[in-house]
Amino acid sequence: MEVINMAMKVDPSVKWAGPTRPYDLIKELVIAVVVVCLLAAGLSFLFSSPDEPAVSLKSWSNTNPVDFVNTATSELAGTSTSTGYGPPYNNAVKGMHFGILKMQDWSGVRIPINPAKSFVLDPLANYNDASAQAAVKVWEAASPADQNKWATGYADALGKAKDATQIADPSNMYGPVPTIVTSLLNMAKGGALDGALTTSDSVLPTNFTKPLLFLADSEGYFAAKAEEQHLGGEQWGVMNETGSWPGQSWLWLFSFWYQVEPFKSSENADTIVMLLMGLMTLLLALVPVLPIIRKLPYKIPIHKLIWKDWYSKKL
């Protein structure tokens, strides 16, 4: 009872002047480091870590040339994801927003990319293929209306043919598009397109924006491979890892919002979820002053377990 009486007078803002126990901070830290080192070493020995090899434009074009050709054509037709993305790559649309908050639009085009030019035409213009270079010149000299007619017509024809990588065009309905797309496929199959896209801005590349954006436009290869590895958005992919290894499980809440309405089907899901997580982070920081939340530890007495020795007067 004496202990309780003394404890009842405890003011947590005043430095503790009650009974103490011996403590060795440095020893505790050293032991903790050794324990964690052994744990990490043991887990690494038993389970290793995943390393699914990187994909490339070469592997894409060789593994699924149909998807490659369809995607390349969509870049010319202006129907790919990249083409209609908006900031920071282009001004095709204003991008996602939440109410009056249009941060994507406000950030501007700081990483300018014209997918048709960057992914298809520029690489071919510098590729050692005379017919491809001639086809690019025909494309560039044509009106936007003709370009659109050729590319959308070829995209439709490929869609109808389903498994074709090239459509015969005896009446020249598609202009230079078949030559451009077929040449790009050949360039990619040999690996030259990877080099062209990664070195287009620097001969010593560390920035893979262009090849990755092009790959990300692929649904039949890149996205399909991610789905196989349960990395898709609807598969809680944000927190998953390739294979059966644990991923960024601490992002479970971030991933959760994408699985439920109204976020799941919202055209502005990314903006809303990012802002929501920002708000929740702010609330977590403000727990000490949140009226109901800050009193939960008193209502649900888990502290009785934590300080059970103290409460049972064993001190």
């Binding site: 103490t20 744990l39 690494s44 290793s48 920071p88 727990v287 502290h303 300080w307």
Partner: protein, 205 residues
């Protein structure tokens, strides 16, 4: 009192902390639970992340794909980060149920939340620089989130060079600084006492 910058810094640092508070060899008697271990375990995992990360810097970001030794240290780095977050989350929940912000310890709680967020961002950039399929997929998906709030125009998840420098230099320095700030606040205020009565709810907050 001297108004020199040096004197002010000395007063704010060396003269504000007693050596026995910074490196204590006693603790209040109520500090007797396994939950207290998780704070130091989090720091221990952070030390392991530094150590294994430094080893991984020796031969570049693609080393671990073709070297058994490199792959093993990559595995240790991965499991250290998994342990780091497990320990940190248990520590956070423990501090919540202790209402550890009592006694003018709000800044300690807030610094812990900032450390948690900085850890998530630092870990995320690590996933971007694996130079394998996982990092390719994560970067192409994450760009949409960053772009949607305007951040992607400045932090380009597809720019591997930018992610590497952030992960191995800027972010560990920032996170390390936040962790040091958090620990100093804990040492300064001491470990929060048990919840006992109303003074801890209202008067002590």
């Amino acid at each position: 009192m001297s108004t020199s910058w040096t004197a002010r810094v000395r007063k704010a640092t060396l003269e504000s902390y007693k050596p026995e508070d910074l490196l204590p060899d006693t603790q209040p008697a109520y500090v007797a639970s396994w939950i207290y271990i998780f704070g130091v375990l989090t720091i221990a995992a952070f030390v392991m992340l530094f150590a294994t990360g430094l080893i991984l810097t020796l031969e570049g970001p693609a080393w671990w794909h073709g070297s058994g030794v490199g792959h093993y240290f990559n595995s240790m780095h991965l499991w250290s980060v998994e342990l780091f977050f497990v320990f940190m989350v248990v520590h956070l929940w423990g501090k919540f149920w202790m209402a550890a912000w009592r006694g003018k310890r709000t800044a300690t709680w807030v610094s812990g939340v900032i450390a948690f967020m900085a850890s998530i961002i630092t870990a995320f950039t690590g996933y971007l620089i694996q130079t394998n399929f996982d990092s390719q997929w994560i970067s192409t998906e994450a760009k949409d989130g960053f772009n949607s709030i305007g951040v992607g125009a400045f932090f380009n998840a597809l720019n591997t060079g930018q992610a590497i420098l952030l992960h191995v230099a800027l972010l560990p320095l920032l996170l390390g600084g936040i962790v040091v700030w958090h620990i100093i606040l804990i040492r300064r205020k001491g470990v929060v006492p048990p919840i006992l009565n109303d003074i801890n709810i209202d008067g002590g907050n």
